[in-house]
Every structure is written in C-alpha cells, then in structure tokens.
C-alpha cells in the first residue's frame, strides 16, 4: 500500500523536503546554536557558571517543585478522571471543558490571578493566612501554580484508558467475591499505571520549563524562590549571555532526559501491561 501511495499520490518529495527544511531552520539549527555557544566556553568557565550555589539552588527548586506538583496532579487527576468517566452529575459537560482551561489560559494570566488569590486580602488568602499558611511569594505558591499549569495532562491521558477498562473483568472480579475496593485497587488501577506514568511525566516536563506563571507568584528571591528559567532571564539581564546559555543547556539536558525516560517507560509499560 505504501509503495502504491508513493507512486500514486503527488508531493512526497516536496512535502518531506519542506517539512525537513522548516524543522531544521526553525527548531534544530537554533537549538544547535545554543549547544554550540555553550561549547565555546572553556570547560572550567562552563562548570563555574552552572555550579554556582545560586544555580544549584535553582535546579533543586525547579526539579523539586515540578516533582511535587506532578505527584499532586496524579492524585487529583485520578480523582477527576474517575468521576468524569464513571459518574453522571449536573453540568458534567461544563466541568469536562473546564479541565482544559490551563491549556488555553495564558500563563501570565494564571500567574497574575494566582498571585492575587493567596495574599492576605485575596479570596483564598483571607482564609489561609489566619491559619498560618502564607502561600503568596513562597515555594508553596510555585507548587500551586505548577499544579494548575499541569492539571489537564493526567486527566486527559487517563480518561481514554478508564473508558476502555473491560466491564467483563470488573464483573468477573465482583462475581469471584472481590469487594468493590479490591476490584478497584487490584483490578482496575494496575491497568492505569502506564497512563499514570505518562501523565505524571507530561505534567513534570511541563512544570520544568514553566516561566510565565511562576514569575508572578514566586517573588523570585535567589536561593529561596528562584527557579532555573528565572535565573536564565536574570543572567540575560546582566548581559551574561555565556552563563545564561550554560544554565539553559543544563535545563535542556534535563528536559531531553525526561523525554527519553518517558519514551522508554512507555515502551516498557506497554510490554508489561499489554
């Protein structure tokens, strides 16, 4: 069939050529320039730029906050996906559409509104601050806004898998005397693991690079609430291009590593659970 396609349908060379040229010029060459620029730095200067205490604190915060927010998103995602797939309730369609809001809402808007919600006079801050929870301009604020930004990933990867869970297996488990809780935890959840891993990783990867929303809520204090992308911008504003590039390379390597791990995990879990 494929040979037939290439013999019959027009435009193979043109479309592939254009795709490769556009991908190369817009994506690959600029990314290569970043690595090239970093490679022109002598190694000790590169190492000095990426291993300052401030930079290390920034990586730790970026990775740590992303991990925590992705883990929270897994829990929230399972809950929301389960409810949306299994139950009927009023306004379900609207709730379902609202799940995607973090994809559609510009991150600057999310940052702006989250920065105003948790201050003492804000809608949520007025309840939380008296309880001693100072969420505004703290690490907690970073995690909260990252949870918002990554929220749809787990829900959307889980929903189709939950819909496809075989009714027969569930009924069989019930017939064989499993309690409902056993059926859910021993029979249904294991089939969700691959999707959960994917959802977690997507949410984590998104959080790693996030800038627009965090810059509004975190206060951007070096060593305390400064994430790696904010540090890159700070270095750029000092015209320290080489240092900015060095940190960007570290961030890129972490993101690409996550990407590779996700692909391997997906392949592995498909083999194990399929």
């Amino acid at each position: 069939m494929n040979d037939v396609n290439r013999r019959v349908l027009p435009g193979f060379g043109l479309s592939l050529g254009y795709t490769l040229a556009y991908l190369g010029l817009l994506i690959m060459v600029p990314l290569a320039a970043c690595f090239l620029k970093a490679a022109t730095l002598p190694f000790d200067r590169f190492w000095a730029a990426v291993s300052t205490e401030r930079a290390v604190a920034a990586y730790e915060l970026t990775v740590g906050a992303s991990l925590v927010s992705a883990a929270i998103n897994v829990v929230l995602g399972v809950l929301v996906a389960w409810v949306l797939v299994r139950y009927e309730f009023p306004l379900k369609r609207v709730v379902d559409s609202l799940v995607d809001l973090p994809f559609a809402l510009p991150t600057a808007v999310a940052g702006l509104v989250y920065s105003s919600l948790y201050v003492e006079s804000g809608w949520l801050g007025r309840f939380l601050v008296p309880l001693g929870i100072q969420a505004a301009y703290s690490r907690l604020a970073i995690v909260l806004v990252l949870v918002f930004v990554g929220f749809p990933f787990v829900v959307r990867t889980l929903e189709p898998v939950l819909e496809r869970v075989d009714a027969d297996i569930e009924e069989a488990a019930a017939c064989l005397g499993a309690s409902r809780l056993q059926t859910v935890t021993r029979v249904i959840f294991p089939s969700l693991y691959p999707a959960l891993v994917t959802g977690f990783a997507l949410s984590f990867a998104r959080a790693l690079g996030e800038y627009g929303s965090v810059v509004f809520v975190s206060g951007n204090m070096p060593f305390k609430t400064e994430i790696a992308p904010v540090l890159i911008v700070a270095r750029l504003e000092e015209f320290a291009y080489a240092e900015a590039t060095a940190i960007a390379v570290v961030l890129l390597v972490i993101s690409f590593a996550v990407l590779v791990v996700v692909n391997l995990l997906e392949r592995w879990s498909k083999r194990v659970y399929a």
Binding site: V80, R93, L98, A104, P106, T107, E171, R180, G212
Partner: protein, 288 residues
C-alpha cells in the same frame, strides 16, 4: 443510572459516588473556577466604564493588543502551512526516519519557553552569530517584532501538525488515490478531497495554536526587550502593568486573554461534540 445498583457490579455505593463527585468538583472549583472568576471580578472591580477606559484609553495597551493581533496570526499561518505539509508527508508515505521525524516535531514542547527565546537571542542578538551582519544592514530582529514572530512560531510549532497527523491517518488515502486515478491534479486533490476531510481537525489545531500564540509569555519576554508601545504583546503588557502597581489595568488586559481562553474552550467543546455526533451517526447507519 436506570439499572438497579445491586445488579450492577460496576457502580459504586451512593455515598462513595457523592463523596468523590464533591471532591472532584471541589478540586475544579479551587484550582480553576475561582481563579477564572477572580480575573473578571478584579477587572470589573471599578465598573464597566472604568474597565472600558483602561483598555481603550491607554495608547500603550492599544499598541500591545495590535501587536498581539499581528504576531499571532503570522505564527499561526506559518505553522498551519507547515502542519499540513508535515501531515501529508508523515501520514501518507512511509520512509526511513519517519518515527524520529514525528518525535522531533514535538521537541519544542519540551523546551522551556525561556530557552526558546534565548536561542534566538544567541543567533540574531547583537552578540549573536548573525548580530554584526544584521547590524551592518541595519536590520533588527531581536528587541523587534520579527523576533517576537520567531519565538512565537517556535513555541507553537507542533500544534497543527500533531493534530492533523492522526486525523489524516485515520481517514486513510483511499479517496485521494481514487481522485488521482480519476485524473485530479494535485491542487484539485487538496482543495476538493483532502481539505474537506481534515477541516475540523484543522480548525482544532488552529484554535489551540492561536491560543498559545496569543498567550505566549516566556519566549517573547526574552526576545522583546520590553519597549513600551513597540514590543510589548498583551501578556507582556499584563506583566508591566502589574509591576507598575496598576493592578486593575493588568486584570483588565488579562480578562481579554481569559476571554480568548474561554472562546477557545467553547469552540473546542463544540468541535468535539460535533465529532462525537458524526461518529454516532456513522455507527447507526452502519448498523442499518
């Protein structure tokens, strides 16, 4: 829920159902609904008149809206042309490296927006590889609208292509092969057969691409230089107003972007509903 609970082993006890639904609605409420409502409440805090004035009377805000309405369409159209071409190559033909190419298209999603901006500064900035040459010809890319277009195009690169590839694969090539063997030219094939088949997938990709293009912050923030009235897009204007302690004005501009997000979600939901209905219809006619 017409089946009696006891005979259906797939349903949970009512109290479990109620608790979980309440918890899920609580999560959506706290995480999404309250922030969304807050944007509009803060924007309209001083009344409709003041809201209208903050948006229309400020020359710099008007310039930011104009800039966003210029940059985003350019990025969307460029990525639209790329998306259709890439989907044609990947969904219709088999060639070595096809899987790798599909994976590479998603690459911009795993690049931090700040890094996406930075790489263009490294190439076109004054200190960049092409900086001296651009300067000699008196061309500005960084700290000017072309840089904004480049950075926006980079971050919105995958949207149309990744939406179209599965759609075109699902439709298959039969109709197109038939059209060609009946003598259709490439041009006719595209406008009469391919485009009508993929149009809803295309619209879907365009609105998602557009929402991201208009709302992009990190990448454009790095390349814009923040020259008020010249290189501030709407999201950058929001940040500037916020930093200048003009909270109400920041929320007014933000509310326009939130409105865009709601519109995007509305169209998206409509398209999904349409698709589901078409699928049901096809199944029903198939049964008969």
């Amino acid at each position: 829920m017409s089946t009696p609970e006891k005979t259906n082993p797939r349903s949970d006890p009512p109290w479990v159902r109620l608790t979980l639904i309440t918890a899920a609605l609580g999560v959506i409420g706290l995480l999404i609904v309250i922030p969304l409502v807050d944007v509009f409440v803060e924007a309209f805090a001083r009344g409709l008149g003041a809201y209208w004035r903050t948006i229309t009377a400020d020359e710099d805000t008007r310039a930011a809206i104009r800039l966003t309405l210029t940059v985003a369409p350019i990025a969307v159209v460029t990525n639209l042309i790329f998306g259709i071409t890439a989907a044609w190559a990947i969904a219709r033909f088999r060639f070595p490296g096809r899987t790798l190419l599909t994976a590479l298209i998603d690459l911009p999603f795993s690049v931090s927006p700040v890094v996406a901006g930075l790489i263009f500064v490294l190439i076109f900035g004054l200190q960049g590889y092409l900086g001296p040459w651009l300067r000699a010809h008196d061309w500005r890319i960084i700290f000017a609208p072309p840089g904004l277009v480049l950075a926006t195009t980079f971050v919105t690169f995958p949207f149309v292509a990744r939406e179209l590839i599965p759609v075109m694969e699902a439709i298959g090539a039969d109709e197109e092969i038939a059209a060609v063997s009946l003598g259709a030219s490439g041009w006719q094939l595209f406008w009469r057969v391919t485009l009508p088949n993929i149009k809803w997938g295309l619209v879907y990709g365009i609105i998602l691409c557009n929402a991201r293009a208009m709302g992009e912050f990190g990448a454009v923030s790095v390349v814009s230089g923040h020259i008020t009235g010249h290189t501030d897009t709407m999201p950058l204007r929001v940040e500037k107003l916020y930093n200048e302690y003009q909270g109400a004005a920041a929320f007014a501009v933000a509310s326009l972007l939130a409105l865009l997000a709601l519109l995007t979600l509305g169209i998206k939901t409509f398209l999904e509903w349409k698709q589901a209905r078409a699928y049901e219809l096809a199944q029903r006619t198939g049964e008969e």
